[in-house]
Symmetry: D2
Subunit: 345 residues, 4 copies
């Protein structure tokens, strides 16, 4: 199957390239870039020297329709809402890694993204591609809104508890910590090495655009709409993302029972690993892989559950999850091209 990537020159774009080169059923055919078209990808990214000789091309839906079957959009917010519908209409399978089609309510997009939303009719047709939860809906879909990096770690960390009704949704607090690739590859003073190195910084408190996405999907899981607190921090690391999640317990499980609940919930999910009691994951232990590792702590003193959920934001939080979704759509082995052992250390 031939594939195209729109936004191939960003961090998610080159990770898609790296992973797809390793995929048994996919051939990379067309790399699209707005800002760097005409250049060779290996001139922008020397690590691809000798690996890939493609030239970046301008966006052209006709050309894509002629040459590929599936298009990945690894574009900044606000781009795919314009370009992707045309590809859909030409029958292309579309997987959008941006946030443009994740929120079902256009008003929410406008409020949190501070720009005009995609057409409401299109929002309806996008399947939210959190494979571990929406596996059935993804099978055979044409159009996937790939989850954001923070929502992926948050929702996987909360799903077993929420679906079981074992926590009070209104008490959920998510403290997110992300590496720098999360904010893309654009020149900015705030992301310079000397500014980020050896420091941790809180950002967008109360205003992060992933908040409504998490709330929407928690509501879908629980049938109950609830506002959550979601905070984000920039960590001096390239890849990796952790969500430390706090919630008040409503069922009197022991820590052992909590672990069993999580373990059995993810029994058939090849990419979620539950850590044994008293063991919590470091981001480094999943970086380079499509795994989401989860550790739990249950505190009788405060009746609170603490969940630690980690992913590689560029893989499970973006490119890897997109490929996982494609595998499910096509009925291939869910792990095709994704049997990656974390690169440690």
């Amino acid at each position: 199957m031939k594939a195209g990537i729109v936004g191939a020159n960003g961090y998610s774009g080159v990770e898609l390239i790296r992973l797809l080169l390793n995929h048994p059923y996919i051939e990379l055919e067309m790399l699209v870039s707005h800002s760097t078209n005409g250049q060779k990808i290996q001139d922008i990214y020397p690590h691809l020297t000798g690996v890939l000789n493609h030239e970046l091309e301008p966006f052209d839906a006709n050309e894509l329709a002629k040459r590929v079957e599936v298009v990945f959009f690894a574009t900044p917010a606000g781009v795919s809402k314009t370009l992707l519908p045309e590809c859909l209409d030409k029958g292309l399978l579309c997987i959008d890694l941006s946030g443009d089609f994740r929120l079902k309510t256009p008003e929410e997009y406008e409020k949190w993204y501070h720009q005009a939303p995609a057409e409401a009719a299109r929002l309806e047709t996008a399947v939210y591609g959190l494979a571990e939860i929406n596996h059935k809906q993804i099978e055979g879909a044409q159009f996937i809104a790939n989850p954001g990096c923070y929502p992926t770690a948050s929702l996987l960390g909360l799903a077993p508890a929420v679906k079981d009704g074992a926590i009070d949704l209104s008490t959920v607090i998510i403290d997110g910590k992300s590496g720098v690739t999360g904010s893309g590859r654009k020149a900015s003073i705030g992301n310079l090495y000397a500014e980020v190195n050896d420091s941790v910084k809180a950002y967008k408190l109360g205003a992060h655009q992933h908040t409504p996405e998490i709330e929407q999907e928690l509501a879908a899981m629980s049938g109950e709409k609830s506002a959550i607190t979601f905070s984000t921090h920039l960590i001096p690391m390239s890849r990796g993302l952790m969500c430390t999640i706090y919630a008040t317990i409503t069922k009197g499980y022991s820590e052992r029972e909590w672990l069993d609940l999580y373990q059995s919930f993810y029994e058939k999910s090849p990419f979620v690993r539950i850590r044994p009691q008293g063991n919590w994951p470091a981001t480094k232990e999943v970086v380079g892989s499509n795994f989401c590792d989860i550790g739990l702590s249950v505190d009788g003193r405060t009746r609170r559950l603490t969940v630690v959920s980690v992913i590689d934001n560029v893989i499970k939080g973006a490119a890897g999850q997109a490929i996982q979704n494609l595998n499910i759509i096509k009925g291939w082995d869910e792990k095709a091209g994704l049997s990656l052992t974390p690169v440690y250390p």
Copy 2:
């Protein structure tokens, strides 16, 4: 005034050396080390070459009493509880940077530190040295239990809200993030560069020994005992510590009013800086100084307050705060030797 340092060869010890060399009224007289006595401090720490020619000496209370007026204990947990009482009895002014005398209840120490507590009578006499809160009790004291690094950032971040009764204590959740110096200078696989670099890791969930210290002091502020949730994370940085603190609001203040509350609470505290609205501190912005910087976010949707509080764990969280306490005890300018601008970047 002549000073001695017990545990001079650890990270807090060498930071005390660095700061005291810059203090107008103190002269470093005696450096004590158990494991490295007989060596020159500059042979262990080449950055002190030509700065300080002292030899490390074994602990000897008589010798200390003869040569110095004040002793700083920068020792691991479990050491000062044995050594310090003897110094007190000889009339020495003692400032303990370890956790041995912070908890007033011996049972709590035993439970969280997993070792025998100091003598109960001694615990009574130690003043908890959080200068911004206990200024009066510190003036003229003989014996200070210097606060832990996490409790310093947590309590300074919570004090104005707690003393005002503006938050519900039972909802307090503290998500702590610390650099590696926090765990001292001992060889361990877990703290090797290759293990810590480019990663974030949760540790001691539900079991960190700073938990009862924070609860004890919150109870002292509020008159109300309440269990809190306190989590800690290891961040790939040498110095710096952040506490992101969550609590449910009980008073209907606007964000502006919250900022005013904090600003006026710390009006006379030279080392606490409240950030303007929409601005939250990075640890790098205080590293190298004795500052605690605090930023707030108030969320009407969830009725929660989020406080971001950062310090240099080795300075405000250890050596700097110890000197601040000494300044207050002696009636010197609180900032003597501590007028340090953060080293940025």
Copy 3:
């Protein structure tokens, strides 16, 4: 083909595991560890959770001979010289990643490694496994001494010039820069995060044990014995190694001709990439892969050639090169299991 790893619990050991899991013709059968036998590898390295369920076993040559065909020794200096001969005698194919069998002259080993050398007769039988240079000798060999990390980058950076006689060997200076994994996974104060972070340090000047290895192989290439200057520096990074190599030019080539010389020398070497003029590699551009990237600079003012050669020390400098050697021995595709795109960023 079934494989065993002796020293499976070090950084090179776990990297062998990661790469062999991805190898089409190899099955991991036996993991041997002296210090941690009896434990499960995934309990020591949680990133292997669910990936590999093997228990670490004690060394037993009979057991190895019964169960595997090839043994990789990823052991510290001084171990394989004792254990490996027994495996050889039982007909096992042996690839030694340590330095025990690289130097042909026992006296040199003693002088630079400060311990007794392997038996001289055994040293004779080991083939120095620098695939790009010794391809022929490796084919069908039973026993490989896998090159050191610094020698790999140095020799690949020098080979085309040396074999062409285009530089004066007596002027060769190699300035090496390595990440921390180069010194293995043992607890030491010098490798603690807080000591290595945000700093660069020179070490073992004039005394690094890779010096005689480089000199021996340069002599083999050139037919001329010459002492070189080799310096090493510790860089705050986990993986990656750079050698910046200086030498006086003896032939009047243009920069273009130098590049052609290198390009054509490595035409049939799938893992060496020559960078275009004015472009020098960063270690990050090869990390995660088996590539060695080389950039050149020729200075008419000083008549000196500068070569920048980078590798991932754990892959091309250890585990990857070992597998490459096995591929060559067995006549498999040299790239089997090693078609790895660098993990960027």
Copy 4:
């Protein structure tokens, strides 16, 4: 004495602020910035919150002449050559941290800086401010060209050997390694955290503008003009710079005699520290201070001397050295405001 800083919003500018706040005889009066004038410095650099309330002002030589006695130029290449002469003509004491007035030959500036040089007559009047070498010329000077960061470490590392005639100048090779602050605070993809982190990169090989500066000063020391090889590498650290220097020995000194030569050469230089035999400095051991630490290695096999010279590039390589020069000009204690112990770790 009142001081002004032109280019106060760059990394050298804010370091000058930090150091001058600590200077006994200087008062900061005027902060000048082209790009950010009108803003408060603490709004750009929150670490200065509450420390300094100055507003950045546009450049105005008359205003400077009215309000200050000394002006520091911490501006990018090409700025001071235009602005500084006017200040000189008004009788201001001028210290230029940029490269505009360091090279005595305008053609060399044009060749290496790729822009028009300063007026030749002005170049004559600038004193090259390497205090340890040009102390006499600096005393009472009006106009200082403050040395570049690499030349500072290189020249201090070479001076004793060169002045003694103990090395062959034509064999000098300098392998430089610098932290990221060396390239200033401008948004660029190449300096983004994710690009620099966990990697080392060679840059500007054969073309670094500090090359002619080093050659000029070596010629001044030796009376002999010689081309050197100078290479630069970007290291993942904020501050710190190391030069590893190689040269062929022409005198048969023992290592002990080499150390004595260096030790006695710098006997009266309070900021140069020579390390004992077998001990080479890490950059972290000088960061935060005005020290230059030097370690030596002498190799009988190759008859080469290796010198390791480290500084904090923002202090001894820029702001600290500028203040040291001012201290000398004014006849103050050379260490006034510069008695800084390195911030370790």
